[in-house]
């Protein structure tokens, strides 16, 4: 579907940015940025974490005030002083981190941002119609708390579309989607382009930028390093522009002797009833992860991966203690602390608020998951925390994982998503855990950081640990895994060795094609 619409250089510019600059203290986050977005084009904004993409976009959306520079909208100079002004002009934004109230329904969340007093039922009907016509299936009456990340993103997109914007800014939209969901989104985007709307598309995924974007602007260290037509570039040449050097490819050393290695993590007949009316029940899940191997779990968002992670991590206990076994011992009845003490480590999907406490320092967030396993090192007599030891351990992890930050020990919320993820993964790797379970290891993380995290996970496995990776990113799973299993509707397929696995086979399983799943219709929800 890509490549059918040519770049629209001849069309009028919808948005022109001239010399936009934003300075934070001594850091120039955006340095004289020039950017043109034509009517009816999909324009990519590329750059590593910290390149200034978010700052630029926040200035366009009125969340930040530029220090200097001009913005022209439809040829007229404008000052975008607040998101309200941006919306009035016709700029809509879908953030990478969603701003939705979990206790409210999708329609209620939309109503909150529209703020025009129309009744919820009208909004729900509009949202339903819009979701239908743009191919974004969504039930407006479902509670946000019960929806998957992919579904929540649809709410954000529909909320944005309801305001009939001329320019839609999408921040890392496919980071939570599977190939099918991403295809759906691309269809939606192409439809919007055909309607003459413009899209500013922020992504790290170079292949999809090549596929759907007409032009690209590449940022590095706050400066524009180039404008290009991504279709005439290769993924490697784009990555070079972004990073300034070659991105190291992930190396997966061949795993030897896995068949005879002991299973360090075993799931036997794991079953879980749905905790909420919208949760996915887990049905008789069996899996063994051996020392030295990486097993990937693929699946469309919201097929029970979250419930599975909670059960394995011990945030939710099992009635049958033997349904989760760590290093040959029953762990189903143990809490997350008990399982950590057996040598397991966990990285949840949500970074802020689950894997890390946003308003706490990195050193405190280190203590968060390791107060029990490193009790001797970090906690002294009488329960006094050894702040010095915790601080130096945090610095060790920061160095090992190349976490970039603005202060020696900043609050977790002050870090970019990729850097915080490097810290959270590094926090667990630092323990050299025997079993590592990671949910969405590189959710919205840039290419350089993602390669770093993946390489670290492979090396952990090759050093004799069992690594289980749950991800919706198939590229990632093929890069990392020795075998891939698929989760669909709360059931897990048998793992396919990587040599036999193809995108097509896995994709079919994700749609529920395995025998026994046949009764489920092929759904991308």
């Amino acid at each position: 579907m890509g490549g059918t619409v040519s770049a629209n250089h001849d069309r009028a510019n919808l948005l022109e940015v001239r010399g936009l600059t934003k300075i934070f203290g001594t850091l120039t986050a955006c340095d004289h940025i020039d950017l043109n977005i034509a009517k009816g084009e999909i324009h990519a904004l590329l750059g590593e974490n910290g390149a200034g993409k978010s700052t630029l976009v926040k200035m366009l959306f009125g969340s930040l005030e530029p220090n200097s520079g001009e913005i022209f909208w439809d040829g007229k100079a404008v000052k975008i002083t607040s998101p309200g002004v941006a919306k009035k002009l016709g700029i809509g934004m879908v953030f990478q981190h969603f701003s939705l109230f979990e206790a409210l329904t999708a329609a209620e969340n939309i109503a909150l941002s529209l703020n025009d007093g129309s009744p919820i039922s009208t909004i729900a009907a509009k949202a339903r119609a819009l979701s239908f016509s743009y191919g974004l299936p969504l039930d407006p009456d479902s509670l946000v708390g019960d929806l998957s990340v992919g579904e929540r993103q649809r709410i954000e997109i529909i909320r944005c579309l309801l305001q009939t914007p001329q320019l839609i800014i999408l921040d890392e939209p496919t980071s939570v989607l599977t190939p099918q969901e991403a295809d759906k989104l691309f269809e939606t985007l192409e439809r919007l382009r055909a309607e003459g709307k413009s899209i500013l598309y922020i992504s790290h995924r170079l292949e999809e930028v090549k596929r759907i974007c007409d032009r690209a602007t590449v940022l590095r260290h706050g400066k524009v390093v180039g404008h290009c037509n991504p279709r005439q570039e290769t993924a490697a040449s784009l990555a070079r522009m972004m990073v300034g050097s070659e991105v190291k490819a992930v190396v997966r050393a061949p795993a030897e002797g896995i068949e005879t290695a002991p299973a360090l993590l075993e799931i036997r007949g794991l079953t879980r009833k749905p905790a909420t009316p919208f949760a996915i029940p887990l049905k008789n899940i069996n899996l063994a992860v051996r020392a030295g191997e990486v097993i990937g779990i693929a699946g469309v968002a919201g097929n029970g991966q979250g419930e599975f992670f909670e059960s394995v991590s011990g945030e939710v206990l099992q009635q049958d203690a033997g349904s989760v076994r760590i290093r040959g011992k029953d762990a189903g009845g143990l809490s997350i602390t008990g399982r950590r003490l057996m040598g397991a480590a966990f990285v949840p999907e949500e970074r802020l608020g689950h894997g890390a406490a946003p308003r706490m320092k990195l050193s405190e967030n280190l203590l968060l998951s390791r107060h029990a396993t490193d009790g001797k090192a970090f906690v002294g007599s009488g329960g006094m925390v050894k702040n010095g030891a915790v601080y130096s351990a945090a610095q060790r992890i920061i160095t090992a994982m190349d976490v970039r930050k603005s202060a020696p020990d900043p609050e977790a919320a002050a870090l970019s998503g990729g850097n915080l993820q490097k810290f959270i993964v590094g926090r667990e790797l630092d323990r050299k855990p025997g079993v590592m379970v990671v949910n969405q290891p590189t959710w919205g993380v840039d290419a350089g950081a993602a390669a770093h995290i993946r390489q670290a996970l492979i090396e952990l496995a090759r050093s004799g640990s069992a690594v289980l990776v749950i991800s919706q990113d198939l590229d990632e799973l093929f890069e990392l895994s020795d075998a891939i299993a698929v989760m669909h509707n709360g059931e897990l397929s048998t793992p396919l060795p990587i040599a036999e696995a193809t995108f097509e086979k896995i994709g079919l399983l994700m749609g529920g094609a395995e025998p026994g799943h046949a009764e489920h219709s092929l759904e991308v929800a």
């Binding site: 607040s82 309200g84 991590s313 997350i336 966990f346 925390v385 609050e411």
Partner: protein, 375 residues
């Protein structure tokens, strides 16, 4: 001209510190207006209210007597509130501490010696903790709202005490007055400096509790647990900290401290049980906790300020003939302004002239959470 609140990128350390002082200044201004409306010269009223009650040494002792229960209770409550658990029933826990602690001097007056006081204090803490465990149990078992249950239990405790001193525990030689017998000498909390004033060991307990809880909150794993569960419960669960355990911990701790305050008050300042043993310490302590920024050391200072409002209330009543309810008014205004000024920690104020065209305020308010999310 319009006032708009703009979210700060991060909480302001400056205003976190200044907010109580701004609130105090605003309270003084509002108080001056109130005194003026009552037909009293505000300056002389303030002198009587805030200066005279602490101009002599024995008066400082009175201040310590009033401050001790406020600080003890508020220190416990600060732990609850930091954990996002809302114990509003300290007044009831105070009363139950007093009742439990009084078991020895009322029912076993012949038991004397140096062991009596420690046992009474211990029983007082047990009583307060026991009474606080009820809302904790209801919350963890049935998910009841602890604000409601702990508050309602205050009235149960007040009426229970009233029934005790009119009924089974009434002093038979008391000419029918609703009160217990006077505590024996070994059941009275000793005074610190009997020559200088009446202040008793209760004030020392308050200071020790404040320092210990400050240590716990800032240096110990338990305090970390409280802060994590209070600020991000899901991350707390990931850390392996149990929420139900935390509910019990905070309720038992704050209940025990309120109970200690209760028995110290009865054994030190009053010397017997009466139908009413507290001028609302348990509720005023909520103000103390917030005025002290939920920091135990700040609470010591805040406790002294609030104690002064009690003394000042009594002073203006006797000197100017104004109702001592004025103390309640000052306390209320103080809490009101503290909570109001706390807005400045997270928001800055922007004045917007009418001449400029701006989007309506509602659009800005609605994007406030978005800004936070997108950071």
């Amino acid at each position: 001209m319009r006032i708009e609140l703009v979210k700060r990128p991060q909480r302001s350390a400056l205003f976190s510190m200044l907010s109580p002082f701004i609130a105090f200044a605003l309270t003084i201004i509002a108080g001056a207006i109130m005194f003026a409306l009552l037909g009293v010269n505000p300056l002389s009223a303030f002198e009587i209210y805030f200066v005279e009650p602490i101009s002599q040494v024995w008066q400082l002792h009175e201040l310590a007597i009033k401050a001790a229960p406020l600080i003890l209770i508020a220190v416990g409550l600060s732990v609850c509130y930091r954990a996002n658990i809302w114990n509003i029933g300290a007044e009831g826990q105070f009363i139950f501490g007093a009742i439990f602690g009084s078991i020895i001097p009322v029912l076993f007056p012949q038991f004397e010696g140096p062991l009596v006081i420690p046992l009474m204090l211990l029983l007082g803490m047990v009583g307060g903790a026991f009474y606080a465990s009820i809302p904790a149990l209801l919350k963890t078992r049935f998910s009841t709202n602890e604000i409601l249950t702990s508050l309602m239990l205050v009235y149960v405790a007040q009426l229970f005490l009233d029934w005790l001193v009119r009924g089974p525990w009434r002093d038979p030689q008391g000419h029918g007055f609703p009160q217990t017998i006077q505590f024996g000498d070994s059941a009275v909390l000793p005074e610190l400096m009997p020559d200088a004033g009446r202040a008793n060991w209760g004030f020392v307990f308050a200071l020790v509790a404040a320092v210990l809880v400050w240590l716990m909150m800032s240096r110990m794993l338990k305090g970390f647990e409280v802060r994590v569960l209070g600020s991000s419960p899901r991350a707390g669960r990931f850390a392996g900290f149990g929420f139900n355990r935390m509910v019990f911990f905070t309720f038992l701790l704050s209940g025990a401290l309120a109970g200690l305050a209760g028995i110290s008050e009865v054994s030190g300042a009053i010397g017997q049980l009466q139908p009413v043993i507290s001028p609302g310490y348990g509720f005023t302590a909520i103000i103390v906790a917030f005025l002290g920024r939920l920091n135990p050391l700040g609470i010591v200072a805040a406790g002294l300020v609030l104690a002064l409002t009690y003394l000042g209330g009594e002073a203006v009543q006797s000197a100017l003939g104004i109702s001592d309810k004025v103390a309640r008014v000052f306390q209320g205004m103080l809490l009101f302004f503290v909570l109001g000024c706390d807005t400045l920690i997270h928001y800055r104020i922007r004045l917007i002239g009418l001449a400029l065209t701006k989007p309506n305020g509602a659009a800005n308010l609605e994007t406030a959470p978005k800004l936070e999310e997108a950071r």
